[in-house]
Amino acid sequence: MPTTEERPVLVVTEAEDVTADMVITELNRRDVPVVRFNPADIGGELTVSARFGTCPAPVVGQARTPSRIADLARVRAVYWRRPVWPTFHNSGLGDDDARFAAAQVRYGLAGTLYALDGPLWVNHPVNDAAADYKPAQLATAQRLGLTVPPTIVTNDPDEARQFITAHDQVIFKTLRWTLYERDGVQLTGWAEPVRADELDDSVRVTPHLFQARIDKAADVRVLMVGRRTFAVRIDCDLLDWRRDYSALSYTVVDLPAPLNKALHGVLDHFGLASGSFDLAVDRAGDYWWLELNPNGQWGWLEQETGLEMSAAFADLLTRGETA
């Protein structure tokens, strides 16, 4: 029998999420009730039921899983990790019915959660999405006093070539990651220098982002959880440290106070309780903004450094407020 949890933390994620498991383990240690579900489980293992206009509380209801029941009016926090939305593509439904069903889940389930008054969102998906636009990040970062590498977003091949020629080295970055397979092999974007003569007219098809390469001494990955900051310097000889995790060495560092303040300002601007920042530090010791991943990975960093990141998430979700 499912049990009704008092002031639960909702953990919204897929089942294969060991990073969420790390946070849930810490919540269990604190005796904080957790109700975990994945939107894709709707219909089978997930039931949502909410009423509006029926009593003084503007929204009352429940989310139910095989093991737990969450009283929606009493939700303390929502940990929005890696939810998977049902597409109904393999359900035997036709395209129109599948599209209809998928939209009803999103607007019914997420919409009900958006209606809740009380919970702290880590993070609110609407804010995550708004923060995921690199051009908006760059301008926001500079407004808040961070140093931003010269960058151009354009679908004009001539302007792109001029930009590349005008800078010592330039890299191409995708504006957004998408699942991309070629011949059964998954591909992704990697930071690599690009020459002006490599460009052609197909730059015109979509905007592209080109950025001056920073002569960096190291990368710095910063995880912010509420008001807490975890900064890790990543040393390696790679332009893109994701290429070889075995080649990286990690050092916990303290950020200069003005930088720490500016990064918190970026989170506040986007309404985020947490975020992962990629920065570069140059040979003069100055920090450069690279990007913000509102829902970035950090589990491996906790294991590499021993920093108590999952405990910080659990503390934040337990408090149910960022302050």
């Binding site: 999420d17 849930i24 269990n28 730059v203 592209h208 990975q297």
Partner: protein, 87 residues
């Protein structure tokens, strides 16, 4: 490449797509199914024969990406909870 207006909106792949490259390593994770344990709300990973697999460090995804076909969690920083048709 020189392209016409009509091609622009139909068949030409954006330049940037040609810059994408494979992930450096493919890791196959040692489980075939995951369920949620009711009392703890933790994922329980099982192999083909139904035995519980201790995920430990194997499961945690890296900063941005590793290439696995079996582990959703190993996808990158972006790409989750996004629906281009609706965002």
């Amino acid at each position: 490449m020189s392209i016409t207006e009509a091609q622009l909106t139909t068949t030409v792949r954006p330049w940037g797509a040609g810059r994408l490259a494979p992930y450096p390593t493919a890791t196959r994770l040692p489980y075939t199914s995951v369920s949620i344990d009711g009392p703890t709300q933790l994922g329980v990973f099982r192999d083909r024969s139904g035995l519980v697999v201790e995920m430990g460090k194997h499961g945690t995804s890296k900063g941005t990406e590793t290439n696995t076909t079996t582990n959703q969690d190993s996808k990158n920083d972006q790409g989750h909870d996004q629906d281009s048709a609706q965002d």
